[in-house]
Symmetry: C2
Subunit: 588 residues, 2 copies
């Protein structure tokens, strides 16, 4: 079908174009018939322009326009005019003009779409995903993709300007023996062998440091075959960086610089640097989480010192046996009813707490079931510790440290929700969590595991404890947390063979096992590895937060569902037995 | 290990730094002991700086330096000084200075590498690939990766500036029924089902046009499970673009703009635009190839008109039966010996030719076995047609059109090689091949196939022949050819349902078959598809040509071998039966 190439996009014409002859191409967004005239809002990615079919202006064009329906694709020629007085549209950039049509070509017809191409629609996400190509016409979704596009360019230009080199790492890689959740790809040329898709380019980026590339970055697809989880995608995008001859401070500086740039450019906010930092321990004690949401206060307080000499049995036990007593003030909640308190007690019990201790702060006393077990001095200390005022409510949880703090952290979020403490356009709260433990104790197998991965460097000051008290060894590992969501993390890596051996020893990994599991990387390290460390951002999650939406599917062009299905094309799907034969596999 | 962060890179110090105290980190590139002094060339990505250990300057540092060997990773502190008169190194940017060391920290030792970290090495590619992390330290390889990095940024900034939107398309997609050579990925969550890795994002980019995104680009990994072929990779990188409401000219303009930019920035050459264009037919008749190398002449000439009325049986047959007589002049080769001519005859026979006709051009005659069968008039016409002069040699091939032209095309390349017609730094020759045939006839199955894919638009002027004479229908398809290599290609797509039906009919594809094979894309087209078309560049091949190397493996950080193996980590590899069980598959 022959058609004229547009002279302008649908977002371009202004008053200074009046009387020009123009060609526009686009979609029929809406059609209105008014007193023998046909008004079409013509839409493309760049905007909307009103075009007018008037029998007196061009009879044939007007007649041809009779068949136009929503989402038809058309090409029009016409003359730009000033809109008649009083019909201007101030919402549209093009709202001062319209185009009188003298030629219409219908480039394509369109069936009625399954939902309107508008922002406010009441359509199930499944239908939106099945017809994603129509959903993507909606202005809000296009805005998200355009913002994502902008983020890509900002990120790459930033790292380019900072001497990072972009390197593509392989997608078809070796499956690791610890490769649970690896997606596998059968090899046709090598019977019985498989590639794996990368869960991250971790090994490659460390090899690039061994290669002396000094600073690497990549915006890269990663893959993880996880069980069903809302808001996870089997393939996701990472901003991946690695640097040589640096320490943690250098990484922080580079990451913070990027975040400042993104905030300025995408949200027009001035991010104050350096960012706040909390150690893992502080975060846990004050906010009950290693990804605390600091858009509101509700700080927790460890109360062990208050009850150091208590005769109250419950507290006594925890003070003595390495347990914890953690408290949190709910300001102004002193009038919570018994029923409200029961609901919150149920909330923490479901998370595993034995119960919830609460105290209403009155003018000169604490009103609480346990009040009678506490001395006046303890009550005074408590009020002071949590900075309580009359009319407030105090929550206390006891238990093993990690569990009690985590549950109080959940209660903290719940109370923030109940008290509406997060205002919609609240200042974003970005912070570092540092000093993660190097090891995590597993009760089931009764051994320590690497909290990140076995190449994460311990804090050099703690090396002496690696054998004697592994639990207290801090890692040079850090997370970046935004509004209570982890948006990235990284670590300084071990580059020294002796330290690496020590690490494997602490993890109970034998020399042969290390060789088998991490052989080629360990081997590379023998040829001169520099000190290095890195970071990886979850790009989808970052884009989601910057776009102000609540699902990463809103910032991915063709997302899959929580069960890893593409509703648009029905992937994954069955394949022919011939295909499987060629790959030397069959279905079990 | 504690160490000081570098104050400068190894490529940074100049005379204006003299007397400064500096910290450098890097690899020991070479070590020279001279009269009690130890000279180390310290290397990082940015350059080399000479550092000097002198017992008089710092005894301890000098003693510690005794153990240093090539590729040790060290950190030094020292004072910059002007090199003693006569010891400057003009090859190095840092060659006017060196650093007198007062502190040495060995960050890591290194085993002796399997090959020297130098550009000129005589090491097999297999060894280089096995130790790729060391190979990547070599300056030439680093230069290639840095150039590739630069290309990424130029390409993306160019498309960004031209209003293209970068969209990531899925890597886990649906396997197409025509998916021979698809890599498959078994689904764990959905037993018996598979994803496929994209051979190209073709369908997605067309959907993005249906979505109204107008201009899309992506630098994207694609995958093809091909049989062993030198210089192919199972995963390769494409620059992928698609545009709406455009014609072929708009695509050419965008692509040419990018090539001009790359040539200017990477090679400092001014590319003259617009690029030369040849139709598929012209290219075939003049150069015997749809990717002709125009860095040299040796133009072929179709001689059918010269021998229109010949009585020479061999020629007569081909003129009458739609065959072809093609000639090529080899200037100055009139003295080729019978032996040389026999070798060339063997060359074309191996490619399937019946034989090679040759004629030595003498002052007033043609000396050739077949000379006696030709009239004087025919000889004159021939000499005139190929523009022969005494001392030249004329080659003639006859046969079916495509075959004879292709073989002459190969002979053309062979003669260019023999005559050394390609000078090493020859001006690059970039051109368009247009007007590809829409259909390709397959002798075996006796039917037409789409030469590109079934969504490629015919030239609208040729639609009338789609049923009556499919062979003469030209496609709106085009390739970009650089120095005899296809570096990209694309087409205008069919956006109209009627034309698409006609296309399927010509291909003998029934409605149900089309629905089954291309269902979701066809479905999307029913909701208003704009006219659109696109292009895809082979990024690896482009990078290879710009880097002036002869294998794409030289411009890929971690390439695989021709048999799709990674020698560094032995991928693909066997996996545990548990992993396969989880994926519901087993080895046949």
């Amino acid at each position: 079908m022959f058609f004229k190439i547009r002279t302008h996009t649908c977002g371009e014409l202004r008053e200074n174009n009046i009387r020009e002859n123009v060609v526009l191409n686009g979609w029929v967004d809406t059609r209105r018939d008014l007193g023998g005239l046909i008004f079409i809002d013509l839409r493309d990615r760049y905007g909307i322009t009103q075009v007018v079919f008037e029998p007196g202006f061009d009879k044939e064009a007007h007649e041809n326009a009779a068949v136009l329906r929503n989402e038809f694709v058309i090409s029009i020629e016409g003359k730009v005019r000033k809109r008649p007085e009083g019909t201007e549209n101030t919402v549209l950039n093009t709202g001062q003009i319209d185009v009188m049509v003298n030629k219409l070509i219908i480039l394509n017809e369109a069936k009625t779409p399954p939902f309107p191409v508008k922002d406010e629609i009441d359509t199930s996400e499944d239908v939106r995903l099945k017809y994603r190509y129509i959903d993507l016409r909606r202005p809000a979704v296009q805005r998200n993709l355009l913002m994502r596009h902008r983020m890509y360019q900002l990120v790459r230009n930033y790292f380019d300007a900072n001497n990072f080199i972009e390197v593509e790492t392989p997608v078809l890689m070796k499956s690791t023996p610890e490769g649970a959740r690896d997606y596998l790809v059968p090899s046709r040329l090598h019977k019985g062998k498989f590639y794996a898709l990368p869960q991250s380019p971790q090994q490659y980026k460390q090899l690039l440091m061994v290669s002396g590339l000094d600073r690497y970055f990549q915006i890269v697809k990663c893959f993880r075959d996880e069980d069903l989880r809302a808001d996870r995608q089997p393939e996701f995008t990472q901003i991946d960086i690695e640097m040589s001859f640096i320490d943690q401070e250098n990484i922080f500086e580079i990451v913070e610089g990027l975040m400042k740039l993104l905030y300025k450019d995408i949200s027009n906010r001035d991010l104050q640097l350096p960012l706040q930092r909390l150690t893992f321990d502080e975060a846990l004690e004050k906010f009950g989480s290693d990804k605390p949401d600091l858009r509101f206060d509700l700080e927790m307080v460890t109360l062990n010192h208050v009850f150091e000499h208590t005769s109250f049995k419950v507290f006594q036990d925890h003070v003595k046996n390495k347990g914890i007593i953690t408290g949190m003030l709910a300001p102004g909640c002193g009038e919570y009813t018994r029923n409200q308190l029961d609901i919150l007690t149920d909330f923490v019990k479901k998370l595993g707490a034995g119960g919830l201790i609460w105290m209403r702060v009155k003018d000169n006393e604490l009103e609480a079931p346990i009040a009678k077990f506490l001395t006046d001095e303890e009550k005074d200390h408590l009020v002071e510790a949590v900075k309580a005022k009359p009319g407030d409510l105090i929550f206390i949880l006891t238990g093993s440290r990690l569990q009690a703090l985590s549950i109080m952290g959940s209660l903290r979020l719940e109370m923030a929700r109940r008290l509406n403490l997060i205002v919609p356009d609240a200042e974003p709260k970005l912070l570092w969590i540092t000093d993660f433990p190097l090891f995590e104790w597993d009760e089931q197998t009764k051994r320590y595991y690497a909290m990140h991965h076995p190449f994460t460097s311990p804090n050099l000051e703690d090396i002496e404890f690696m054998e004697t008290d592994p639990g207290r060894v801090r890692a040079l590992a850090y997370d970046l947390v935004l509004n209570g969501t982890e948006i990235g993390g990284g670590s300084i890596r071990i580059h020294n063979a002796d330290l690496q051996s020590k690490m494997f020893k602490s993890l109970g990994i034998s020399g042969e096992e290390a060789e088998y599991k991490f052989g080629f990387l360990m081997n590379a390290f023998k040829f001169g590895a520099p000190p290095h460390g890195g970071f990886a951002f979850g790009f989808d999650r970052m884009a989601m937060i910057f776009a102000g939406v609540s699902s990463i599917r809103e910032v991915i062009a063709f997302p899959k569902t929580a069960s890893a299905i593409s509703l648009m094309d029905d992937a994954p799907s069955t394949v022919s037995d011939e295909q499987l034969k060629e790959l030397h596999i069959k279905i079990r």
